[in-house]
């Protein structure tokens, strides 16, 4: 049985885990932002699959719509911060952004 809700939720969990591993292991800020996008996409998949399992209304798809909007805003602001940081420290290595360290 491939087509149940569990397979979609399992796929979403695995994708979220891949994104989380990428976020905690990579030092390149660009790659970390892409990992965040992968995680947000995984949550979107879980929302849409749950809506498919309970198709009385479209709450899950509407929620996924808002997640897409928030993810677009997050990508824009995150990349703007990345550009500002690159002007400051001339690298996109997130470990080099330690100006606040005493």
């Amino acid at each position: 049985m491939v087509s149940g809700l569990a397979s979609y939720l399992g796929l979403a969990a695995i994708l979220f885990g891949i994104g989380a591993v990428g976020f905690v292991t990579r030092r390149n800020l660009l790659l970390q932002l892409m990992s965040i996008e992968i995680m947000l996409n995984a949550t979107n998949l879980a929302f849409v699959a749950a809506n498919r399992a309970y198709p009385e209304d479209l709450g899950g798809q509407v929620f996924a719509f808002f997640v897409i909007a928030v993810a677009a805003a997050e990508a824009a602001v995150g990349l703007a911060i990345l550009i500002a940081l690159y002007r400051l420290i001339k690298t996109v290595d997130s470990d080099k952004a330690d100006q606040l360290r005493g």
């Binding site: 399992g10 892409m34 498919r52 399992a53 198709p55 509407v62 928030v70």
Partner: protein, 215 residues
């Protein structure tokens, strides 16, 4: 789910998994962005198997059309500096800790998923194995009309708040990325407005009753 739906699910899930792994393991950010594009297209295919047609199109438009292009713009703007030099992964201990943390969380999720054994119910008007274009009512679920009704009637206030959020994000992105430093950057921004040199100030700072005025 029909056989073609099963095939699309299997193919899209495989492509999504492989491209996600490739995205987080690539050293070159541009290749990672291209892999992220493949991942997003695979997820749009997965949405199609879930009768979410409008969301599938929106995924392609917003993610593949805007977010990935924004990533590519930034990678091009930064240039070779976007590749972090030696040791693009963190220390092995940090890596092991992160992997253990994520594996713990995923194990909790997986242990709960085993209890979910819900087969998808049939959507109203949809007949398994029939082409989508031959069904009138089936296209309502997840289609433009139903999603519009759900958005503009049930979720009108969040929809308007999302527009405010996007406006704030636009203004914030411009304000953050414009840069305010007066020192000349090593790679001058060709579009930056040239900063006029300051007029020579008086030798004595302006002193008022409260003391030295801040600049």
């Amino acid at each position: 789910m029909s056989t073609s739906g099963q095939l699309l699910f299997t193919l899209s899930a495989f492509v999504a998994l492989v491209s996600a792994v490739v995205t987080i393991t690539q050293r070159t950010p541009l290749r990672a962005a291209m892999s992220l594009l493949v991942h997003i297209i695979a997820l749009a295919g997965l949405y199609l198997t879930l009768y979410a047609h409008l969301l599938s199109a929106m995924q392609l438009i917003v993610y593949a059309g805007a977010v990935v292009v924004l990533f590519v713009f930034v990678i091009m703007l930064i240039g070779p500096g976007s590749i972090t030099s030696k040791g693009h992964l963190r220390l092995p201990t940090a890596k092991a800790l992160g992997a253990a943390f994520v594996a713990t969380g995923m194990g909790v999720v997986a242990s709960q998923i085993g209890t979910v054994s819900i087969a998808f119910p049939s959507v109203r008007g949809c007949i398994e194995g029939q082409r989508m274009t031959q069904m009138g009512e089936c296209g309502q679920f997840g289609g433009v009309e139903a999603m519009s009704k759900a958005l503009y009637i049930d979720a009108a206030i969040p929809f308007e708040l999302a527009s405010v959020l996007l406006l704030v994000a636009i203004i914030g992105a411009i304000a953050v990325a414009r840069g305010r430093s007066e020192s000349a950057p090593a790679h001058p921004d060709p579009w930056a407005i040239p900063i006029q040199p300051r007029p020579a100030r008086e030798a004595e700072p302006i002193v008022s009753q409260q003391g030295v005025q801040p600049r």
